[in-house]
């Protein structure tokens, strides 16, 4: 394991937050966060509800823009580019930074249309290309064998676990660099959860993944790095192994041993 930790250090930085403060009106949701994430790693955000981890996650693709009175100070860089810069087109940013939500949210359209949607809105017209990409994305999430005869059927007919894998395939189809996941398995049964966790191992080869989770074991199983948030502070950020075996902060220790949260 020490070997892989060395490897991470050598990897390219892909996400960087500098002195990020987030406010909802007068309420400060995040306090002076600094963090660096490397390419092709899985980073887990843990912490009790309302600690700011989801808010932080949604800063990376600017999904907070629509929230009233949302206000951010500091800088977030993705691929060395400041994403809260005025001239940044959020549509382009979100093509690079995909997101998977807590509850599976397929569009009320066919399975095929769900995966093809991202390509279409980004102006891809080549039908063969779209078809190839849809097939590839469904294979990448190990859904292909289950749905290959039903591509025209409504996505709403799939089971919860299948829907969530479809949502991941939908995100993969536009080939983002980063995938944000906001508690992607919290609405799923244990078997579906296991399948998605398995999937994350494969996806890591090609994508950088940031995942918010309430499930401590999940964080320990799947992530390389773990960040612990508490009341808007980034309390501790380290290799996952260190966080779970030898945390430096008492608060972290208390949280992961289940004394609060």
């Amino acid at each position: 394991m020490t070997g892989s930790e060395e490897l991470i250090k050598e990897k390219k930085t892909i996400i960087e937050a500098r002195n990020v403060n987030v406010f909802y009106g007068h309420f400060q949701a995040l306090k002076d966060i600094n963090i660096i994430m490397k390419e092709n790693t899985v980073t887990a955000f843990i912490g009790p509800s309302g600690c700011g981890k989801s808010t932080f996650l949604r800063c990376f693709n600017r999904m907070n823009d629509y929230i009233e009175q949302f206000h951010i100070k500091g800088e977030i860089l993705i691929d060395q580019k400041k994403i809260y810069w005025k001239s940044v087109a959020v549509e382009e940013l979100r093509k690079e930074v995909g997101m998977v939500f807590q509850k599976p949210n397929p569009f009320p359209k066919s399975i095929f249309e769900n995966v093809a949607y991202g390509l279409k809105i980004h102006g891809v017209k080549d039908k063969n290309f779209i078809e190839e990409r849809v097939v590839k994305s469904l294979k990448d999430v190990a859904l292909w064998d289950e749905v290959k005869d039903d591509l025209k059927k409504s996505a709403l007919a799939l089971s919860g676990g299948q829907q969530q894998r479809l949502c991941i395939a939908r995100t993969l189809a536009v080939e983002p660099k980063i995938i944000l996941m906001d508690e992607p398995t919290s609405a799923l049964d244990p078997i579906s959860t296991a399948k998605i966790e398995e999937l994350l191992f494969d996806l890591k080869q090609k994508y950088t993944i940031v995942i918010v989770t309430h499930n401590m074991q999940q964080a320990a199983r799947i992530s390389d790095k773990t960040a612990f948030f508490y009341m808007g502070d980034l309390v501790e950020y380290d290799d996952t192994k260190t966080i779970f075996t030898n945390p430096k902060q008492e608060k972290t220790q208390n949280y992961i041993t289940g004394r609060f949260g």
Binding site: M63, Y66, E68, V90, F101, K103, N105, G118, H122, V174
Partner: protein, 288 residues
């Protein structure tokens, strides 16, 4: 009464009110049944092919509803193409763009108020603006513009309701893939809510078909010798033709009125039926 316990008395009142409640509920429906039965009884035998294709006449037996029917079809068509894009567009704007600003809440109050303005006032507006200032005269276009303004609030409100019913998780998913606001509305929100939007539009237009007063005020005529052939032609509509026949003392004209009412009611109920069917189909299709 005297040797009843308090509980028994209460129970008696309770049951008496229940009977009264049933009676009231059926009262409206029975009146509706009487109304329809009476009209069908008086007018049904008068309806034949000649009645539908004949031009108006001073002699009741020779008079037909052709010009009024064509006028109603024209009004229906023009009002739909004017009011549909404006009403749905405004509904989309209020629900998806201009939310929660001061301006938006002012617009909301304004629309609620417009919905309560009597239809005849819209007639006065149309008379001054469309007929006189725009110089459209008592034309189909002036009438349709007036009715479009009248039904705009209904379309806006029902469009907003339908859009509101689309879960935000769908919009989030689209936006997170990099779709712009309009791409999300056009590809996700509108297709998912189209049943509700159309229901509202159809109901609004069926209301427009039954409207009489504003069209009388903008100058639709009781007597038009020929069916209109362009939006600038003068016109009459079914309700005005009915009003005209009702106002005459001879019984033959009352028969004509009843016959025309049957056709008008068929129009109205059919559109309401289509709207309800659409709504049910849409609600069944999409279960989140």
């Amino acid at each position: 009464m005297k040797n009843m316990t308090n509980a028994q008395k209460n129970k008696l009142i309770d049951n008496a009110f229940k009977v009264f409640g049933i009676a009231c509920t059926f009262f409206g429906l029975i009146i509706l049944a009487i109304l329809i039965f009476n009209i069908v009884e008086v007018g049904l035998s008068r309806i034949d092919w000649d009645f539908i294709k004949d031009l108006p006449s001073r002699r009741a037996q020779k008079a037909g509803i052709y010009t009024a029917l064509m006028g109603t079809v024209w009004i229906l068509f023009l009002t739909a193409i004017i009011a549909f894009p404006i009403g749905v567009g405004a509904g989309i704007y209020l629900e998806e763009y201009g939310k929660k600003t001061k301006w938006a809440s002012l617009l909301e109050i304004n629309i609620a108020n417009l919905a309560g303005v009597p239809s005849i006032i819209y007639g006065l507006l149309g008379l001054e603006i469309f007929v006189r200032i725009f110089g459209l005269g008592g034309s189909l276009l002036a009438g349709s513009l007036t009715l479009s303004l009248l039904i705009l609030p209904i379309i806006i409100v029902s469009t907003r309701e339908a859009l509101k019913a689309v879960p935000s998780s769908i919009k989030d998913a689209s936006v997170a893939l990099g779709a712009s606001k309009w791409q999300t509305i056009w590809n996700q929100t509108l297709p998912a809510s189209i049943g509700g939007v159309l229901t509202g539009v159809i109901l609004a237009i069926s209301r427009a078909i039954g409207e009489t007063a504003p069209l009388i005020v903008v100058g639709a005529l009781a007597y038009v010798p020929f069916a209109p052939s362009s939006p600038m032609d003068e016109f009459t509509v079914m309700p005005i033709q009915i009003f005209n026949w009702v106002s005459r003392p001879q019984h033959e004209f009352a028969v004509n009125a009843a016959a025309a009412i049957i056709i008008l009611l068929l129009f109205t109920f059919m559109m309401n039926g289509v709207a309800v069917y659409y709504r049910n189909k849409w609600q069944k299709k999409i279960k989140w």
